[in-house]
Amino acid sequence: MLLRHTTAETIVEREALTINPAKTCQPIGAMYAALGIHKCLPHSHGSQGCCSYHRSMLTRHFKEPVMAATSAFTEGASVFGGQANLVEALGNIFSIYNPDIVAIHTTCLSETIGDDCGQIASKALESGKIPAGKVVINTSTPSYVGSHITGFSNMVKSMVTSLSESTKPGKDNVVNIIPGFVDPSDMEEIKRLAGELGVKTILFPDTSNVVNGPMTGKFHMYPAGGTTIEELRATGDSKATLALGPSASGAAAKALDTKCKVPCQELELPIGLQATDRFVDALRKVAGVTVPESINRERGQLLDMMTDMHQYTYGRKVAIAGDPDHLVSLVEFLVSLDMKPIHIVTGTPGKKIAPRFKASLEKMGRPGNLKAPGDLFHLHQWIKQEPVDLILGNTHCKYIARDEDTPLVRVGFPIIDRVGHQYMPTLGYRGAIRLLEKILSALMDRQDRDAPEESFELVM
């Protein structure tokens, strides 16, 4: 009864108020993206609390140390501008923490007072605060626009606008892949799939081996993983870019096309059978390779599981909350399993989001609710009006799951009460097998729990 304050009453339109948000603010997305650059220290240009909250939340999700610096705004800085703080910060960062690159993002405060971080960084360079060979990039991430997904997108775009270079007339036989705001395990899976296909890729950003590193008995300020600065520069010489997830990756891919004439394709995140098919196919075509038997086998195993178990997914109603790129592919996957994702909420605003669900929802064969931007209070009210068999979403959905006694499968960000997502992907065929296993286990555990003794089954 934690959410006893949620009622099934007629849903009141709320323009002025968000209750139990299904999103968070831009800077955390920018910080996460920056962690995907090798030897990068993300820097938060704002009050100390922002940086602290983002690090705490990322730490809870990944169960790993998360390093980032802050300009530590004071009252003076908020009146006279944060230039002095940032210049001093850059000097301190390079002299004590010695990163190869600092990736600055702004906050609602520094945006509102109008700090121009690019110009401040140039000033720091002029005054010798940035040692030779070191790099500073920056991006604008006002917390009052978009969501954490927007922040991720902005930082990745800045990697392109600041670093990508086209150094020669021809292009290298390399494909850039932008993975979107996904877990390090997912980034690893994308690299593995590309490797199986025999395609040379640059994946950026790449947080694998940064926030899912092994236990070594040592603390590394800069873990082994991350896309290197050289690789980021070389993205301008690649022959193509695949942007996985238009919301998180589209902007960077388009910027790279504009800046270095690297043609790009936007794809939905490869979650589930069909979306992974499209990704593998796109990669095959663009790289001019054939799909090896090893990948066909993985695909066949996923399909095998889907067909073996389709009776358990048939007609099951699902409520789902999360980030747009995840949701679009998840909904498609659910519908391909004959499940009914009838309530869909994302906190991320954007007019282009809703149309991406159209094809899947038409196939569902019944009307469904969709809200972008919406919040979890709204989702809960919908669930009260029409109950579901399963909820898919981040940890915050556990309140609804408990109150409505409905099973929950955790996907997306943040997951701060379970582990596994750091190491096991949800992307690709194998990721879909894992996801389907979780969905089936949740549904079947519930069936076992609720079955009267006479219909309690050993074999399912």
Partner: protein, 453 residues
């Protein structure tokens, strides 16, 4: 201190007991250095943690979504009744609000929420951007107070306006307004308020049970399992106990100067400190001899249960070394004593927000050679942990994975913990938690010895 690259500015915030220069004076209470990977938070964080446990109040974060999202039910503060505080309400300010102001939005949000949830009061947290765009949050609150008939209180918690401590101050100001609206001024005999007790994992309930047995009435707790009406009655108490001193001394001082309610600083962590705290209360009410007698009986009964339980943990833990890095220094004092009880020594101690006196006291209780730090960063912390060869770190969410990466055991003594550590039974839980982590076989597989310098 050789071998560690300290920023020049950090040199006066770190010292080793016994090796510091004679004239050394710790430079604490400073804002963090720009560019530091500090473990500190902000003004908003301070206000939010203090007021959050008041369960029958509406808490709305006025600002962009992040501040509400990150502080949504992250404290284990329990309520025995309403759970309104566990919802996350925010005006989720957008770009147009930044340009045209967010006052109308705030007003509409308050009107809708107060009508739906019928809270006993509402706290409006103004975050960074609200302070900059110039929303008159006070005016909106005044208007809504008049319209809705409940106190609607602005908490000025713009993140940049200082440190977490300034957030505590803002929270105390807000609490004062509730306290001061109490109508009955008549004193209740042998009664107390417990200030700075947030009922993490039900700790306030443990303490209340002790006081019930002693024959002392608890009028209100600030703010664990808090209710507006109880807080309003707070001025009827004869004594204030101040536990988390950093966060709430300002309120206690004000209640002393305005109502003449004396306060004492206490800690409910560790055997000595719990006993000391209970006796201090009994001593204040010494005209009633029964209270002291009952307190003696309570302490000796609890100890007779507790001490044998601790023995088995102590046997394993004797000789192990601990590091402590916590928010307020006062907590560190108790932890050092408590760890000593388990046979452990503290070789590294620090806090985010300690003051000069705190660090003097820390120095006194620590052993020779212990490193003492103010507002440390991960690089420093890890370096010292390895140099000192610690077996256990006590800290919060950001420190946990660092300890684990080094192969060092960890105990969460912050607000995310789920077990009560206060009182006598809390000491057993603490010992068990420390034992569970320090003695875990998983560390045997950790290559931590390689990492030692």
């Amino acid at each position: 201190m050789t071998g560690l690259k300290l920023l020049d500015e950090r040199r006066r915030q770190v010292f080793e007991k016994g090796s510091e220069p004679a004239d050394f004076e710790i430079a604490c209470g400073k804002p963090s250095l720009s560019g530091a990977v500090s473990q500190r938070a902000c003004v908003f964080c301070g206000s939010r943690v203090v007021l959050y446990p008041i369960a029958d109040a509406l808490h709305i974060v006025h600002g962009p979504v992040g501040c509400a999202a990150y502080t949504w039910d992250i404290r284990g503060s329990r309520s025995s009744g309403p759970e309104l505080h566990r919802m996350s309400f925010t005006t989720d300010l957008r770009e147009t609000d930044i340009i045209y102001g967010g006052e109308k939005k705030l007003e509409a949000a308050l009107r809708q929420l107060i009508a739906r949830h019928n809270p006993r009061a509402a706290f409006v947290y103004g975050t960074c951007v609200v302070g900059v765009i110039g929303d008159d949050v006070d005016a909106v609150c005044r208007k809504m107070t008049a319209e809705c008939g409940i106190p609607v209180i602005a908490v000025h918690s713009e993140g940049f306006k200082g440190t977490k401590k300034d957030g505590y101050k803002a929270a105390c100001d807000a609490l004062w307004r509730i306290v001061d609206s109490g109508e009955t001024t008549e004193k209740r005999p042998y009664s107390i308020n417990i200030l700075g007790e947030f009922n993490i994992a039900g700790e306030a309930w443990i303490l209340k049970e002790y006081f019930r047995k002693m024959g002392v009435e608890v009028v209100s707790t600030f703010t664990g399992d808090g209710r507006i009406d109880e807080i309003r009655n707070a001025r009827q108490a004869s004594l204030n106990l101040v536990q988390c001193s950093g966060s709430i001394t300002a309120l206690a001082s004000r209640m002393k100067s305005e109502y003449g309610i004396p306060f004492i600083r206490v800690s409910f962590f560790g055997i000595e400190d719990v006993s000391k705290a209970l006796y201090a209360v009994a001593d204040t009410f010494k005209d009633n001899k029964d209270i002291m007698a009952r307190t003696r009986a309570l302490v000796s009964e609890e100890l007779s249960v507790l001490l044998p339980q601790l023995e088995k943990y102590r046997k394993d833990l004797t000789g192990k070394k601990a590091a402590i890095y916590v928010g307020g220094a006062f907590k560190a004092f108790s932890l050092i004593v408590a760890l000593r009880h388990l046979g452990m020594s503290v070789v590294l101690a620090g806090s985010q927000t300690g003051n000069k006196d705190d660090y003097e006291t820390l120095k006194e209780i620590c052993d020779e050679g212990a490193v003492i730090v103010d507002d440390t960063n991960p690089v420093e912390l890890c370096k010292f942990m390895l140099e000192k060869g610690v077996d256990l770190l006590i800290g919060g969410v950001k420190e946990r994975p660092m300890a684990y990466k080094l192969g060092v055991a960890f105990c969460d003594h912050n607000h995310e913990r789920k077990i009560p550590l206060a009182g006598f039974e809390g000491m057993v839980a603490f010992a068990k938690e420390v034992h569970a982590s320090v003695m875990s076989p998983v560390w045997k597989f950790a290559p931590r010895m390689e990492a030692k310098p």
